[in-house]
Symmetry: C2
Subunit: 143 residues, 2 copies
DNA sequence: AGTACTATCGAGAATGATTCTCGATAGGTG
DNA sequence: CACCTATCGAGAATCATTCTCGATAGTACT
């Protein structure tokens, strides 16, 4: 649960720009997410914060995660039974390698995708605007 | 809504192998999916079949889509408000290019991914087992 | 073809994730 | 420091999906 002041300054600045208030709840949620390299559902996050912040409402967690997603500060992925899971994901565009054993997530830079883009453009006349890529496998620690 | 006997033979054979019964409802659902190149939610599919098959139950549509997904005959992707959308997707492994205007889906062969796999293996010591890739953009017809 | 066995079906209830409602609270601005 | 109002917490409401159960219809075997 490392707390990096530099990163915190980065997203707290982003809040100011959008007119959103930097409340205590949002700070707590953002700090927790930034300090953990795995996907968490709203319920899991709420449970983790229950000890230190017993009055934090589940609706607040959902609202905050949705807002962070809109600000591109977190990424979301669907999990098993119709649940969405969230991951801190600020900064430049990249992809994720998720370990299927321990759940740890590594960031993977977005290289060679231009190759796909060229192929889509030439062979399919498809103008690429967005893409979503997720890797699953076994990380170095679990091998 | 083209009905291709060759493809139908292909997935009807797959049913037999798994011990699942090839019921009238499953045939109707499979035919409809195979004849349309776009993602459909369970509700949308149920609504489309309502005219020709008024007695088709929504639960049957959900059950069938889930089974088809397990058999790798359809792919699913999350849509806006927590809904899952399904696409006919039999045959070899490939990816999808989804037009954000008309919703049409083109199949894209799975090339150059070995490049990603090599990078993950060498730089991250990550052994890739699965991946999920979806393209979004504007197709040739909509440009 | 006829029969038996049981997977599957339809309808509606149940479940569970997410969102909404509303009075209370607390950022942020002047 | 006070005001304005975005945000909060608690619980109700919503909505996609799954479950329950008696009825139906594939499939295997005669």
């Amino acid at each position: 649960m490392n707390h990096r002041p530099a990163e915190e300054a980065s997203w707290s600045r982003r809040f100011a720009g959008t007119g959103h208030r930097l409340t205590a709840q949002r700070r707590v949620i953002m700090r927790h997410l930034a300090g953990i390299r795995r996907y968490l559902t709203a319920r899991e996050l709420h449970a983790r914060l229950a000890r230190s912040h017993p009055r934090m409402g589940l609706a607040t967690v959902y609202r905050t995660l949705e807002m962070l997603r809109e600000l591109d500060l977190v990424a979301s992925t669907p999990r098993g039974a119709g649940e969405a899971a969230y991951l801190y994901c600020a900064g430049d565009h990249h992809h994720h390698a998720v370990c299927t054993r321990c759940g740890r997530v590594d960031d993977v830079p977005c290289r060679s995708l231009p190759g796909f883009e060229r192929m889509l453009s030439s062979s399919y006349q498809f103008r690429l605007t967005e893409h979503q890529l997720e890797f699953y496998g076994v990380c170095a620690r679990c091998s």
